[in-house]
Each structure stands twice: as C-alpha cells, then as structure tokens.
Symmetry: C2
Subunit: 339 residues, 2 copies
C-alpha cells in the first residue's frame, strides 16, 4: 500500500493539489489533466487513504454499532438494515458485540470514541444496573449523535427507534378476545425491562377495554428465556382454572412454551390457543405457524441509521427525535378458539 497521492502527482507531472482535485471532483481542473491523472491512478491501482483523509478533514466516515448479541438473528436483521443505509451513504460501520456485558459495552464505546466515529447506534445490553451512570456519562461525553435501537430504561433521553410494545400486545390480546377467549394467560418478562413492562400493559389495557376482569393468577413472570417459558407453561398447565389462550411476551419464551405443550400432548389451537410477540421463522418452516406480533427488525436498523444520518447533517438541530414503529399483527390460526 506504499503508493500515495504524491506518487500519482509525480507520475502525472502535476501537483498534489491537482490530484486531490480530481479525486474529490472539487475545484477546476482541465479535462485533459483530469483524464491523465485518472489514467495513472488506475494504472497504479491507487486508492486514497481514508485515514489520511479523515485526519485532514477532521472527520471520519465511520459510525459505530454496538449490539448485545450478534448471534441473535433479531440483531442480525437490525445490523443488516443499518449497513444497507450506511452503504448508500458511503459510511462504514465498526461493529462491537457487547455480549450482554456492561463492561464490554463501555469498553466498546471507548474504542469507538478513539476511532473518532461520527455517530453511534447502540442497542443496549438488557442487563439491569443502577450504576449505569458510567455508561450514560460516557455516552453523553461523546459529543456525537447517538441513536438507540430498541431502547432501554437506563437511557431515558436519547434519540432512537423503538417498538410500540403497548399497542402490539394490545392488538394481540384483542385478537384473542375477539375469538371469544376470556381466560387469557400471559407469560411476561422482567419488570425492570421497559419492553416487557409495556407488553404487560398492553395486555391489561385490552382486557379492561373489553370489560374482562384482570386475574393475577393468569400473569406469569419470566425472563424472556426459553427455560422460563417452559417452566411457566408447565406450572400453568397444573393450575386448576386453566386459561383457554396464552399470550407470550417474546419469541424465546414461546419456544419453551411449545416444548412444554408438546410434552403434555397439548395441541394448538385445539387444546389451547397461542399468540406470541416477535416472529419465529422456524416455526413456519416446521409447519407450526404461531400467530404473532411482528416487530420489524430490519426496519429498526434502517430507520435508526437514517435518524443518525439526519442528525449528522443538521448538526445544529440535535433535538430530540424519537421514532416508534407499530408492530404488525400476523394471524395464522393459533389464536382460534376451539377449546
């Protein structure tokens, strides 16, 4: 990679400035010289150093992306959306995997800062931590636009793209009620998570709007893991007064729930109806379609990146910008009331 702009200049018998001009299509340069320079650039297979450009312009073309679990397809989708829009805008992304670990998250932010990223998109770890102040402080001290994707309680006042969890589960539970269900159980997540809280809220809202009394026996608190989905379901099946339908707050718990149901030879929706938050592609493939509320992950990424780009442009208006996406209700029949 030894070859630099001055090599080109020499070879073409022009000054650095001229080469720089054709490189950036800036200023005046005679058509002929331009051609000559371009030819030599191609001949020498020259690519300008983004590093040097960044230093000179005092501005990089990279943005940072931090996700808690690169292994989870949900985040894969988000990243896909992000990098699509980034590509279109000639931005490249430095990716960090925080691994649901606060320290790593913090370290990543610091590294990214050293790299002089222009902006940051972060989907924070769901780890609950009251000493999050450090993370928050660092984020604030960055002095660059930060966009949250699928946010978290611990970052209250940030721009971001979010999912309307209340509306989502409201719609879902409503669909169950429309089917004639009145005894509707819910498997929910940790109550220090905003999404989980909101999903429970939507559930309650749907009940109350339909004048169905809230029964706390039907609310089972889990932690979004498939294990908890499994155990909660098992417990529910042992209850005397079983619900006829189950609303499950996330995809992992749905898997656990299904496992439990299968083990006990429950058929869906024959013996019990199901509706879940977040889609699980695999279930369709296997021919076990489960009705669900679908949060558009790729879109989350795309819009998040767009938000960031907007912020990058109007440096003045770093005003609060907040987009909430409404998830879609997708019905496959598992919500039907047969029991």
């Amino acid at each position: 990679m030894a070859i630099t702009i001055s090599d080109i200049a020499k070879e073409a018998n022009v000054s650095l400035a001229t080469v720089s001009r054709v490189l950036n299509n800036s200023g005046y340069v005679k058509e002929d010289t331009k051609k000559k320079v371009l030819k030599i650039i191609k001949k020498l297979n020259y690519t300008p150093s983004a590093i040097a450009q960044s230093l000179s312009k005092n501005e990089t073309s990279t943005i940072g992306v931090i996700v808690p679990d690169i292994t989870n397809p949900f985040f894969g989708q988000i990243i896909k959306g992000i990098s699509q829009v980034a590509d279109e805008n000639n931005l490249n992304i430095i990716l960090c995997n925080s691994d649901e670990n606060l320290d790593k998250e913090l370290k990543s932010i610091k590294t990214l800062r050293a790299q002089r990223i222009r902006g940051l998109i972060i989907s924070p770890t769901s780890v609950d931590n009251s000493e999050n102040s450090e993370s928050l402080k660092t984020l604030n001290s960055l002095g660059i636009p930060v966009v949250l994707v699928d946010g978290h309680l611990k970052y209250p006042n940030f721009n971001g793209v979010f999912v309307d969890n209340i509306k989502g589960s409201f719609d879902g539970v409503n669909a169950l009620i429309k089917e004639g269900h009145e005894k509707i159980g819910i498997l929910t997540g940790r109550m220090n998570s905003k999404p989980a809280k909101d999903r429970l809220l939507g559930y309650k809202k749907a009940l109350s709007l339909n004048n169905i009394p809230f029964n706390s026996d039907y609310v089972l608190y889990g932690d979004y893991s498939q294990e908890s989905g499994y155990h909660l379901t098992k417990r529910l099946l042992r209850q005397k007064d079983k619900p006829t339908a189950l609303f499950i707050s996330n995809n992992m718990m749905t898997l656990g729930c299904l496992k439990a149901l299968f083990e006990d030879n429950y058929k869906v929706p024959d013996d019990i109806s199901l509706l879940s938050f977040d889609k699980i592609d695999i279930l369709n493939i296997l021919g076990i379609p489960i009705s669900h509320i679908n949060g558009p992950s790729t879109k989350l990424g795309k819009i998040g990146m767009q938000l960031l780009i907007d912020a990058l442009k109007n440096k003045k208006t770093l005003e609060f910008k907040n987009i909430t996406l409404t998830p879609q209700l997708v019905l496959y029949g598992s919500e039907k009331r047969l029991s």
Copy 2:
C-alpha cells in the same frame, strides 16, 4: 472532540513528545511527570485519536470482516468468535455484509482497502461465478493477509479455516450404518459447492467402506434451502423403495424435511431415522432433537482471527496456512433404527 495531545502538553507544561511517551509507555519519563500527565489526561477526558496514530505509524488497528448474510446465526456465531479474539488483541473490526452479492462483496473489499485494514477475514458469497477473477484479483492485490472462513471453490489458494466435511458426513453416515441401516438416503446441495460435494463424498465413502452398494435413487440433489429439503423429502416418500434413514446435508434442508415428514405423519425415528449436518438449536428447544454433525461456528471465527493475527505478526512467513476443523457427531436418538 477538540482536545488533542498538545492541549495536554500545554496544560502539563511538557512537550508533545513526553505526552506521547506516557501514552505509549515508551522511552524514559520521570515517574512524577508521568503522573502529572496522566492526571491531566484524565481530567480533560482525553482519548488519543486512533486516526492520527494510524497515519503516523502507517498502520491501523482495524481488520475487515465480510460475511454473506449477517442475518444467519451461523455467521453471527462466526463474527462472535472473530470479535472475541479481536478484542483480546486490541483490534477492531469493520463489518461488511455482502448479502450474497458479488458486486457488494467487491465494493466492500475496496472500501476496506481504503480504510487500510491490516487484514481481512472473508466468508465468500456462495454465488457461483466464473468471472470471479475480479474479486480474486482484488483480493490478491490487497497486499495484506486474507483469511477465508468456510471457504469456497473460487478461492483455491488462500489461508483459512475450514470444516472437514468429508469426515463429518462419513462419521454421520457411519453412525446410521452401525444402527443397522442399509438403505440410507441423502439430501445434498449444489455440486458446484465444495462443502456440498464433500458431504456427498463422505456419504459415499461410508457406504463403500461398509460394503453397502451405492444406490443413486437414494441421492437427491437440492440447494441447501428449506424448500428443497421439503420437496425432496416429499418425493422420497413417494418412492417405492424408501430408505429407512435419511442423511441431510445442511440445517435448512433438515427443517424442510421435517415439515414434509410431519405433514405426512411420519415419526422420527419410529418411521424414519434422521441425521443432519449442522445443528439447529431450535429443534432441541422444541423437544425434537435431531442427531447431527456439528460444525463449530464460533470456533471457526476464533481460529480464523487467530490465523490472521499470526500472519500479521510474522510478516515474513505469509506461507500457506490452512486449518481444518473436524466437526463433532452429536447423537440424540433420531438416528436409531426402529423401522
């Protein structure tokens, strides 16, 4: 981010050089001045610019990673492995998603080159393309170490980490034979893919070593998609002389196969035995454990990154280095012979 090394120098009443020395722990610097400088660095919340450092040292600390589908958990795992090792070595990764698109792949390589990455880890698109020469040429002209992960025919002579597909499917089919199966069907991928080819090879090898005649009726050619798994299985079930066991060359096809089996009320392994290449976590969760050959994806990433780091160190010895991982046979019972 206005604050620079000279701000620190001024504030501390020392020269740039001294600050640089404490920053890099290089050269001599009195303990006292060191402390003083460090204090001011902290006070001013200063982080040196990696950009400027890179330019000055003529060497970045970033490596490029290109994957064909960030959405696929398999690659998520690989990236996880890569970034783990990268972290430990203070390298950061610029991620590109080629989206199984040759043009994007090429464009990514060029961007990465402009960023002066120190090395590249690439899991090439599986797109078959005889004009791949461009991609290959660019890769060669990079002048930096390139590591292939889970390679492809089109890049014959590159360092990389691969999976021993022959051994893997040999072991798998062997396990079926040990169970007493003699009529073993195989769902395979496209024959221009090296992994697919090798998996078929392993199948044949296992048969021949056990003196079981090869029956071409039992070989069904698909394309690694779940749809093809579904259709091939359907076709197989209509055959007169059905196999008692099925060896399936990848996870997606296995899903399709299961769908077909479920639809026709086949039980595994009661009615037909199954063994698959690549694991599918979801199936275990659902309580449908399928015996499989498990290619260690995170390990692929880790070792790939390690390979790259090695290459980075011994710049002299850019000799051909090639690591092949042997996948593990994991038996859950779906391979048992009951029919």
